[in-house]
Amino acid sequence: MRVNVTVNGSQEAVDDVWEGESLLYVLRERMGLPGSKNACEQGECGSCTVYLDGTPVCSCLVAAGQVEGREVRTVEGLATAGRRDAAGDTAGRAAAGHDELDPVQQAFLEAGAVQCGFCTPGLIVQSHDLIERNPEPSDAEIREALAGNLCRCTGYEKILDAVRLAAKRKASAE
């Protein structure tokens, strides 16, 4: 089947999608957007979290056909196009884009919230949503908001630091 969907602001028509495919599979394998991760593919780990019409969802639990005509925003769509130099990256594929990282992404990087990084995209989308809704989250609110995102490396301490830092920076930027 064909699926028409807006992904990171760009309107796309994806062909040859088999009805059993998830949004996660379509993003990763058909659209070249592997940033959303496949850690459990059953909605337990949160590593595949994306915005669907502005609401964070586990993209592994969304059937491809369900996104027809809707809007998806992935971790790849959080950075602001054209100005990534701020992140200080000088090599690799990212150099081509020079996008400016979202403050949540930058805070995860600086706070040491990234180790293996497999949980990171999902946690960043979920944290991004939290700060949008609640610009000054308490620790209890951060924990509650991120309770559906598993991380095996960090013990979550630096993730809390990252979210606090991102919230603080976003608040001072406004």
């Binding site: 059993g20 990763r28 957007l33 592997p34 940033g35 959303s36 991760k37 496949n38 850690a39 459990c40 593919e41 059953q42 337990e44 780990c45 971790v75 790849e76 950075a79 990534r84 992140a87 200080g88 000088t90 090599a91 690799g92 594929r93 990212a94 990282l101 992404q105 995860f108 990087l109 600086e110 706070a111 040491g112 990234v114 180790q115 293996c116 990084g117 497999f118 995209p121 960043i124 620790d139 951060i142 924990r143 509650e144 991120l146 309770a147 559906g148 995102n149 598993l150 095996r152 960090t154 013990g155 979550y156 301490e157 630096k158 993730i159 809390l160 630091d161 606090r164 830092l165 603080k168």
Partner: protein, 786 residues
């Protein structure tokens, strides 16, 4: 295909450290100049937060096929017949392979014992054992075709009781090597004579359940036929050269025709030390002549790697009335499952570290690793030391109770220090300030009582199982000791190639090793070392691959020590060559040259010039191997010998609130004191201690692969629970730096020790709150309310 990331470090930026608003001071920054001791940003971090880092499961190339693995549903069965024709007939299927298609040797094993079939031959010995492979144009096609492979099994009664194997190894052979994998005794002094003098005797039986590494990135990778008739392999692993030694014979190829590159690794924790899909994807690629991707889903991942050995242990200690231990009698039984994997060395660790960091004059330990039809077990963070630690720390608490001493005091009275002998007779030659660490831990402030006005602070949290009634606080302590680097005579080495040249007018270093970055931050550290040793700002870390020499495994907390040591050594060689070049180019009158902050300087005449001036168009490259000091095998009868390179200590205090009516536990806070010799990167180090402590928390109160009759009952993240951000409490850290003179920079491996001591500390705290004996981890609600 998407290229492997070439990670690069940038010039350090000066930023003020940011103060955390949290009530526990967590450390953020500073980057400093990006040298040893600073906390520069991860060179791969920008890609990771942008979602652009290429993990092994992200690899994609035009025209690739998807591989799938048919696995045994039975823990033990004979294969009477196997018909692949129905699978081959499925449209989209390109190949179906069985053991008959293995091009070379049909067995592999990562620790030198080649007992694991690439694909089952005439029988299966554990649930999930690979039997056949399918390649198809869509992953779902491959999975559906796989289900059409027709197999007739003759199901046999599985051997699942590890103790029964010890009682009668011959009757319980599950494979040709069968029975007992290793029995390692440790004998010190005269236990029977000491028993007669003991004023206090305590004993206990303890169990540790099977824990899963539960790394988030699934086993996955891409195999591509190469022009020389070999294979290009992009996989996530912990030790490429060891993989290569196993893959090449099975694929019937010389090692030089298998080109391995490390793809992005989504965590490891020991679970990637054994092969998973490497040989299988290689077989499918060679057979079809096409690139083949394999990526396990979470269900398959639970069968796709080895786990932490479950343990059953009996301990008896005798002591004086004032708490000085006189003897220890210990039996440790580790269930290694169907194949050898790391069981030989896990058993060795359990034996050598069986009584922990305590001075005990008379010891009798018998540690056994055995074969059963349970899932194979091997390496996981802590590697044999974790299981023993739960038992010996539980014993220290029993001894405290029996002598009336506090848990901290009884540990202090028996604590090792520099110069003490371990159970193996090995003298601890570098600082081991355990008594001081305990004193510091005890002095750390305690968290306030739970604020019951917010129900989220209570056990059960928002599920509203209590408003404070029945909730009791407990405090517990745990101590652990872990060997760092490979032990028992293994010639442990790492190799680094360092290249210095001027690029764009700036001295630039390229560091190339085969060391696996699995998340721990080795890429950051390698760049820090190069900056420190050569005084440059710009360092690039080349992709890890097998075109450079062996780096050894990313395990045993060894890469900072070993690959860090190799990078330092190669940098020194580059530096020496640079100084010699300066002599040649600028004349010997300069004499006595040294490198200072990017400048070549003469002791007599001052600055010769910056590196850029000395180098000009020249390139300096050096490849060096680093070995740690030799170790010895444990004596097979007495366990004696200097078997370990380095030993590391961590101590934990846990504070818990327990709903004693429902058996729910909330860990309120963990505090840890760890001696790391030298802090190389505080930000990464704290992350290791937090993460290791979290895995210990998981083992304490939730994590277990439940196996019944050889069958795994909970192979999913729905049923196998790992700690969430709600489970993991704030931590207080006190990191000590007592340098080890034998180690690079004086460092001490740091990744594993916190995984040991956090588990017994939490269980001790739950015991303190409930008065229950709690002899098994993970502790479940029914153990508390029983």
């Amino acid at each position: 295909m998407r290229p492997e990331n070439r990670t690069s470090s940038t010039a350090p930026r000066n930023q003020a450290p940011i103060k955390s608003p949290g009530h526990v001071a967590a450390h953020v920054g500073p980057e400093g100049r990006g040298r040893v001791g600073d906390s520069p940003l991860r060179p791969d971090g920008t890609l990771k937060v942008a979602g652009e880092f290429a993990y092994s499961s992200d690899l994609w190339i035009d025209g690739m096929l998807w591989g799938a693995t048919l696995r045994s549903p039975h823990p033990r069965a004979l294969i009477r017949s196997l018909d692949i024709a129905p699978a081959l007939a499925v449209p989209g299927v390109v190949a179906v392979l069985t053991h008959e298609d293995v091009p070379g040797v049909k067995f592999f094993g990562h620790d030198g014992t080649l007992d694991q079939p690439v694909l089952a031959i005439d029988q299966v010995r554990h649930q999930g054992e690979p039997i056949a492979l399918v390649a198809a144009d869509h992953p779902e096609t491959a999975r559906r075709a796989m289900e059409k492979i027709a197999i007739e099994f003759e199901v046999l009664e599985p051997v699942t009781d590890a103790r029964a194997v010890i009682a009668d190894p011959e009757r319980h052979k599950v494979q040709p090597l069968g029975g007992i994998t290793r029995h390692q005794p440790v004998r010190v002094g005269d236990v029977d004579a000491a028993r007669a003098q003991a004023e206090v005797v305590v004993s206990g039986d303890f169990e540790v359940g099977m824990q899963d590494q539960a790394f988030l990135g699934p086993e996955s990778g891409l195999a591509m036929p190469s022009e020389d008739g070999g294979i290009d392999l992009y996989v996530s692993t912990q030790w490429m050269h060891n993989d290569l030694e196993q893959i090449a014979p099975c694929l019937g190829l010389p090692e030089e025709r298998i080109h391995m590159t490390l793809a992005g690794v989504g965590g490891a924790f020991g679970g990637r030390e054994d092969l998973s899909m490497q040989i299988h994807a290689g077989m499918l690629a060679l057979h079809t002549g096409k690139p083949v991707k394999m990526s396990y889903n979470r269900y398959e991942s639970f069968f796709g790697h080895v786990h932490r050995h479950p343990a059953s242990m009996h301990y008896e200690y005798g002591a004086t009335a004032d708490g000085k231990i006189l003897y220890a009698e210990v039996e440790i039984v580790l269930d290694g499952g169907a194949y050898t994997s790391s069981t030989l060395n896990v058993t060795g660790n359990a034996a050598s570290l069986g009584v922990g960091p305590y001075e005990i004059p008379n010891i009798r330990i018998d540690a056994y690793g055995v074969y059963t039809n349970n899932p194979p077990c091997g390496a996981m963070r802590g590697f044999g030391a974790v299981q023993a630690c739960f038992a010996y720390e539980s014993m220290m608490d029993r001894l405290a109770a029996a002598t009336g001493l506090s848990p901290v005091e009884v540990r202090r009275r028996n604590a090792v220090s520099q110069g003490s002998k371990l159970a193996t007779g090995q003298v601890i030659e570098s600082p081991a300030p355990l008594a001081d660490m305990l004193t510091r831990l005890e002095a750390m402030p305690l968290p306030p009582a739970a604020d019951t006005s917010d129900i989220r602070n209570l056990p059960g949290g928002a599920s509203q199982t209590t408003h404070g009634e029945g909730v009791v606080r407990g405090i517990g302590y745990g101590v652990g000791i872990k060997n760092i680097c490979f032990s028992e005579g293994f010639d442990d080495l790492s190799t680094a190639r360092v290249r210095l040249e001027v690029i764009g007018g700036e001295a630039t270093v390229l560091v190339h090793t085969a060391a696996a970055e699995v998340g721990q931050g080795l890429v950051t550290l390698q760049a820090q070392i190069a900056r420190s040793e050569l005084g440059v700002r710009k360092v690039t870390i080349a992709p890890a691959d097998t075109t450079v020499g062996d780096a050894g495994s990313t395990s045993a907390s060894r890469q900072s020590y070993m690959s860090g040591g190799a990078v330092q050594k190669a940098c020194h060689a580059v530096r020496d060559e640079l100084l010699a070049m300066a002599e040649r180019k600028f004349g010997s009158t300069y004499g006595q040259l040294y490198l200072d902050d990017g400048y070549v300087v003469s002791r007599w005449n001052g600055i010769v010039g910056p590196i850029e001036k000395v180098l000009g168009e020249d390139v300096i490259e050096a490849t060096r191997e680093f070995h740690h000091r030799p170790t010895q095998k444990m004596d097979p009868e007495t366990g004696q010998g200097n078997s370990h390179t380095q030993l590391a200590l961590c101590v934990h205090r846990a504070v818990v609130d327990v709903d004693t009516e429902l058996g729910l536990v909330k860990v309120v806070e963990m505090a840890a004191v760890q001696d790391v010799g030298k802090i190389l990167n505080r930000l990464s180090l704290e992350g290791q201690i937090h993460g290791g402590s979290a895995q210990g928390l998981g083992l304490a109160v939730m994590e277990e692969i439940v196996v019944a009759g050889g069958l795994v009952r909970n192979p999913s993240f729905t049923d196998y629970l790992i700690p969430t951000i709600l489970d993991m409490p704030p931590m207080r850290l006190d990191i000590l730096e007592h340098p080890d003179p034998d180690a690079p920079y004086g460092l001490r491996g740091a990744g594993e020790p916190p995984t040991l001591s956090s588990t017994p500390a939490i269980v001790a705290a739950v015991r303190d709150a409930t008065g229950k004996a709690l002899t098994r981890v993970p502790v479940r609600p029914e153990h508390i309310v029983a």
